[in-house]
Symmetry: C2
Subunit: 459 residues, 2 copies
Amino acid sequence: MKKASLLLLILFSVITTKAQDSLMLRKFFDEALVNGKCYENLRYLCKNIGPRLSGSAGAQTSVEWSKKLMDGYGFDKVYLQEVMVPHWVRGAKEHGFIIDGTTRIAVPIAALGMSVATPKEGITANVIEVQSLKELETLGEAAIKGKIVFFNRAFDPRFIETGAAYGGAGDQRFAGPAAAAKYGAVGAIVRSLTESLDDYPHTGTTGYDPQGGNIPAAAISTIAANKLSTMLKMRKLPLIKFYFKQNCQHLPAAKSYNVIGEITGTQNPNKFITVGGHLDSWDLAEGAHDDGTGVMQSVEVLRIFKSTGYRPKNSVRAVFFMNEENGHKGGTKYAELAAANKEEHIAAIETDEGGYTPRGFSFQGVSSSFLKDVNKNWKKLLEPYEADRLIAGGGGTDIGPLKETLPSIVLIGFRPDSQRYFDIHHTPNDVFENVNKRELELGAGSIASLIYLIDQHGF
Amino acid sequence: MKKASLLLLILFSVITTKAQDSLMLRKFFDEALVNGKCYENLRYLCKNIGPRLSGSAGAQTSVEWSKKLMDGYGFDKVYLQEVMVPHWVRGAKEHGFIIDGTTRIAVPIAALGMSVATPKEGITANVIEVQSLKELETLGEAAIKGKIVFFNRAFDPRFIETGAAYGGAGDQRFAGPAAAAKYGAVGAIVRSLTESLDDYPHTGTTGYDPQGGNIPAAAISTIAANKLSTMLKMRKLPLIKFYFKQNCQHLPAAKSYNVIGEITGTQNPNKFITVGGHLDSWDLAEGAHDDGTGVMQSVEVLRIFKSTGYRPKNSVRAVFFMNEENGHKGGTKYAELAAANKEEHIAAIETDEGGYTPRGFSFQGVSSSFLKDVNKNWKKLLEPYEADRLIAGGGGTDIGPLKETLPSIVLIGFRPDSQRYFDIHHTPNDVFENVNKRELELGAGSIASLIYLIDQHGF
């Protein structure tokens, strides 16, 4: 009899907990959708501050404004975390031409981030097209030396999530130019990392060795890449050449900051759940989806907790990381200091895949039984918000270093719908107008909900 | 021993069937994503034909072009199904003004579809704002007579799917003007059915009684609706008036067509699975998401089957319905003829919620055990494509009449992500440029996959 009563009591408490959780999630979403502030905050960041590459004046302004924004919300702690960041500048707009005998065809290019400049007069050279870094090996120095290597492997459209296609083609941009340099190439042109056929070059960082030996590298639009490839295939003599000129510079490292806001935990002030995105952005646009949406969702989570009166048991921090795009210095610094300060970190959630409709979350390096439990406990609660795809997968670049300094942490990536992200990624089109208010707000509601569940129930 | 062997055989056959299904779905998605034709077909429909309201020259051109398109694909049957449709025309662009004493403020309005014209000189009258049809009752004739009724209930942002918010506010447009007329109103202005705050009036059909007694009715942009509402609240004397003039006409019913393509079933030629959207569209734009994407996905399903060499057991039909927007005559005709011809219909799937990323399908009026089975059998197969939300819900306007003539049919609605649909719905922004190629193609792959599963396994 006693046993049966105990069982009933447990059952009753499980049911009421689920009902309470369900009510809280509804509260968070209502707050995000009815009184949401992230869309207007994003408008300010994009339209009044704009581009904010590490070391730039825009980055500094965004740090100061972000701190003020958090101060205004009255969180328990708001502070800056100093970090030295690379300071790369693009300089005057690049020029690129396909040279077909005496004809010069202008094509849209953009220097890859961290690339070196060309000589003042630009570079003109024959072009060799490759599909992979491996192909460089096969071709060898004889075929490559003195040429511009044109990396032209396209996105594989068969991947359902576009991030996988980005992963599949990305090594050309990250590592291609440095690899080509080893075989004596004088420059590198990389097909833009997008499936979209358009005339925008997509910038992004490429490997840079401060010891030297770097060659200038630029992204070329996908339409121009197709044109160049076709011309290379059709025209044998005179050989197709390529000309480009870019003016980028590496300036001395600059002082910058992560911006951090915190609601201190009522029960475990030294246990932390972090939610963050990155404040820096490429120089070509406004860094709206990459990653203005992520930082604005992160601070919105804390605002939602305050507005709905939810006091977390553990400390919850919104972190605006600096320098995700070309150095990861902010994420590295945050992880170092977390360990140095002997903080205990339960989980970190990164939102850096655009402010699109939420689909769910990915859990990094967890066991299948962990994932099964998470699904069993929380999937049903997130289902009404269509943010219930709880899968194995990456956490994110900025939170990655936490796993090294604090191995027991659980790293989680927010997963919005991925279809449109690489259409605008690292291009002049990454602007506020391409963000949908409701999609952004639903993301904030989803992240607040997951953090609440972790805070209440742990893993 | 025999029993165990039989069990093993069944188990083996279940496993190989699942594996085969899985391979086929992958094939359909690869075809949609690598060799997809729906995006370029949609471009033609939007850019070369454009608006195609029932009875218009555009509608007729779109019928002819659609038949040619299907003929070109070499389906087993391609034919037109004659249907008489209403022929309403907007006429010269409307004008609307808020009149505040001697000041006239121009505001964006658009006549609701099927509305009558104002007198040539327009209508000027005092305005009474209401939030619901019920409020008309409360106010009564004394308060309403001689006035313009302004229906201003906004979308409820708390709904996660925007279709629910549309449903919650939609009666104002469908039934509001006719209800106001009964109380002696001289005109009706309806807040645009969208959550988006913008300056576009969203048209759409309103109730029209051919016996007479109709009053002119127009949609007003949400920004202008907020302005009018604020002015009504703040300014008591002189009373705020509203002026509008519109020039629409009801012409005699016109002859038009549903366009139908069919792959005849190898085993059951007289059993049908229908997939369709509507070919007609509002006159203000290109009918891209509403519903160019739906018809182009429908024909793409048949093309995918042919290209991948899949021969369905049952006959599969793509139907481009005519007149969804202002009469539903095409859907009604299709259902009548299906019954008259003694066809057996297994299922009909409608795609008319935009060409956005697929989320899943809704099954109309099915039991919870039916839904449980569908999920048990098919959810896992659709999960890799993130189109696995199989829920109870509506089928669609065009397939609805089939349930009346053929009660055993299962009606299914394709459910893409809903967040952006009502931003552009029935406005000048419903254009090709707002459709994403991959999202559209993933939808076609999802629908082809579901039809394959129904064709192979039934319910």
